[in-house]
């Protein structure tokens, strides 16, 4: 095995030096075993759940994977109406809330990152507001913005705002002044410096913030829907809970998981494009 590997590796490297990064080989060697174990762990958990549901633990508490699957099927097929409308509503709240929080957080982060006097004045206020659990503000937001999507957008964007603000602000504050000076000496305007140095340099903290804030946006939206809504996946889960319909609750949770995974994948795609310079 070892002899085969050492004999086989060098020609591969000669053939295509760009592709044969050692890590790839290592990952491939582990992959199938790991892959099998991952599926196995998943299957065992689902198996236990199936076994326990209705047998050791009452149905209304945990339902069972098969029931969840059937419920999900009926929901998706439209036999039980409303799922797609719920998904669209929740997705809209998520995307709009996330985008607003992102833009506002980056804008204020840049502003205070550059304007030190302003940062000194506003930082305590921002820290104080950030210290409030956002969930505690959710009922207020419902009073202010109504039970439509606006209130959920507001809650989500507020949660995202603080994550993005701090990541952006710290990114600007810890920026390398040398690169800025290099551009200034070349004759760059302030805006050119922001565009060519500041923004690329804070992409790493910004992307970290973008990833970290997806779950926050989700929590904001779902909690908002729990409190008062007419549509949405959170609303679906909430009404199902009140009816002790745990199969629908779990179906809703599965839908949220899928939405979350799609969101994370989109951000990973952006990251891959933007951080090309960091890879080998």
């Amino acid at each position: 095995m070892t002899a085969g590997a050492t004999a086989g590796t060098p020609p591969e490297e000669l053939q295509d030096p760009a592709v044969s990064v050692p890590a790839t080989g290592g990952r491939k060697g582990l992959a199938w075993g790991t892959q099998v174990l991952r599926v196995a762990v998943f299957a065992v958990i689902l198996g236990f759940w199936q076994l326990a549901g209705g047998r050791w633990i009452p149905d209304y508490m945990i339902s069972s994977p098969s029931q969840v699957a059937v419920t999900l099927w009926h929901l998706a097929a439209g036999d039980t109406p409303g799922l797609w409308g719920d998904i669209t509503t929740t997705a809209e709240e998520l995307v709009v809330g996330y985008a607003l929080g992102l833009v506002a957080g980056v804008a204020v982060g840049l502003l205070l990152g550059y304007w030190r006097a302003g940062a000194a004045v506003f930082n305590p206020l921002i820290a104080a507001i950030n210290g409030i659990p956002k969930i505690a503000l959710a009922p207020l937001f419902l009073i202010w913005f109504g039970i439509g999507i606006d209130s959920k957008v507001a809650i989500a964007s507020m949660s995202v705002f603080f994550v993005m603000f701090y990541n952006c602000y710290m990114g600007v504050a810890t920026m390398q002044q040398e690169l800025v000076n290099v551009l200034r000496v070349m004759g760059a305007s302030r805006w050119t410096v922001i565009r060519r140095v500041t923004l690329p340099q804070i992409t790493v903290p910004l992307l970290a913030g973008m990833k970290a804030s997806v779950p926050f946006a989700m929590i904001g939206v779902i909690v908002g829907e729990f409190i008062a809504a007419q549509r949405g996946v959170g609303y679906l889960i909430d009404t199902a809970t009140q009816n002790f319909d745990s199969a629908t609750v779990f179906a809703g949770i599965v839908v949220l998981m899928i939405m979350m995974i799609i969101g994370m994948m989109l951000i990973a795609l952006v990251e891959k494009r933007v951080l090309r310079w960091q890879r080998d």
Partner: protein
């Protein structure tokens, strides 16, 4: 590497100084104090520094570390104002950033998210050079500094010497008439350093610029410069200004064998050593 250098950089760009412009740099009784707050005492970094670098003169600035050599370049570029005294560039007092200056910093300071060619293109974009001319200039400087195979590489994929070459190309590509260099070859191994000195000297001999070259390497100063300014340890003062007698054109690899070189090296070193021991006593 050298044969491509015969043609002028760009036809419409005139050689600096050809039309009688005087791109000199003059320090007049410059004083600089650092910091100084409620608790900390201010540091006197530069004390009554006065010297002149003529148009298209290659001036080396040497001195013990921490004497404020690099600060002199920041003053000349306008990145930092002097506490007292004036710096004149091109016969105008420096207020704010000086245009038409090239600054090769101690670290390469390449933008890590740009490839080699985009890093070199950056100053051309900033200065609004027409896109049609950018390509030819970038092409030419990539090959001048010997980075042909690496134009699409990112800085982190390059060795330190290659990063340095890229950084020098990025500064020279816009042909600044005044060039500030802060220990540009300090971190390189001896071989690469000599090669880089050779490239720099060739470029300078073909297109002379006003150069302020900070170094702590006396041999490097004598190999490259017309004039060596010796700065004392803190607070930095001008200890002496020495005109280098080594004849031009110089051969970077063998200049140190010349008798003039050996004589001046010894004289400079004695001055330097005295400065070091004085700095140690205080």
């Amino acid at each position: 590497m050298a044969q491509a250098e015969g043609d002028p950089l760009a036809p419409r760009q005139e050689r600096a100084g050809a039309a009688g412009s005087r791109r000199g740099v003059r320090f007049d009784q410059v004083n600089l104090w650092f910091g100084g707050g409620r608790r900390r005492q201010a540091v006197h970094a530069l004390c009554d520094v006065s010297f002149t670098v003529a148009d298209r003169e290659f001036c080396a600035i040497v001195g013990p570390s921490g004497c404020g050599k690099s600060t002199l370049l920041n003053l000349a570029s306008g990145l930092r104002p002097a506490t007292a005294g004036t710096v004149h560039v091109d016969n105008k007092p420096v207020r704010g950033l000086v245009p038409d200056i090239g600054y090769v910093t101690q670290d390469s300071n390449l933008l890590p998210w740009l490839t080699v060619q985009d890093n070199i293109r950056l100053p051309l974009q900033i200065r609004g050079v027409p896109a049609s001319e950018q390509e030819a200039l970038v092409e030419r400087w990539i090959s001048t500094v010997g980075l042909d195979g690496f134009r699409h590489s990112y800085p982190r994929q390059l060795s330190g010497g290659m990063q340095k070459r890229c950084s020098i190309a990025r500064t020279l590509v816009y042909d600044p008439p005044i060039l500030l260099m802060d220990e540009p070859f300090g971190a390189l191994d001896a071989m690469t350093k000599a090669q880089m000195q050779d490239v720099l000297l060739q470029l300078w001999e073909e297109r002379p610029k006003t150069v302020l070259f900070v170094t702590h390497d006396l041999s490097e100063a004598l190999t490259l410069a017309d004039k060596v300014v010796v700065i004392t340890s803190r607070p930095g003062r001008v200890r002496d200004v020495v005109t280098v007698d080594v004849p031009r054109p110089r051969d970077v690899f063998h200049a140190s064998e010349l008798p003039e070189f050996a004589r001046q090296h010894r004289a400079l070193w004695d001055m330097f050593a005295a400065e070091l021991s004085q700095g140690g006593r205080r």
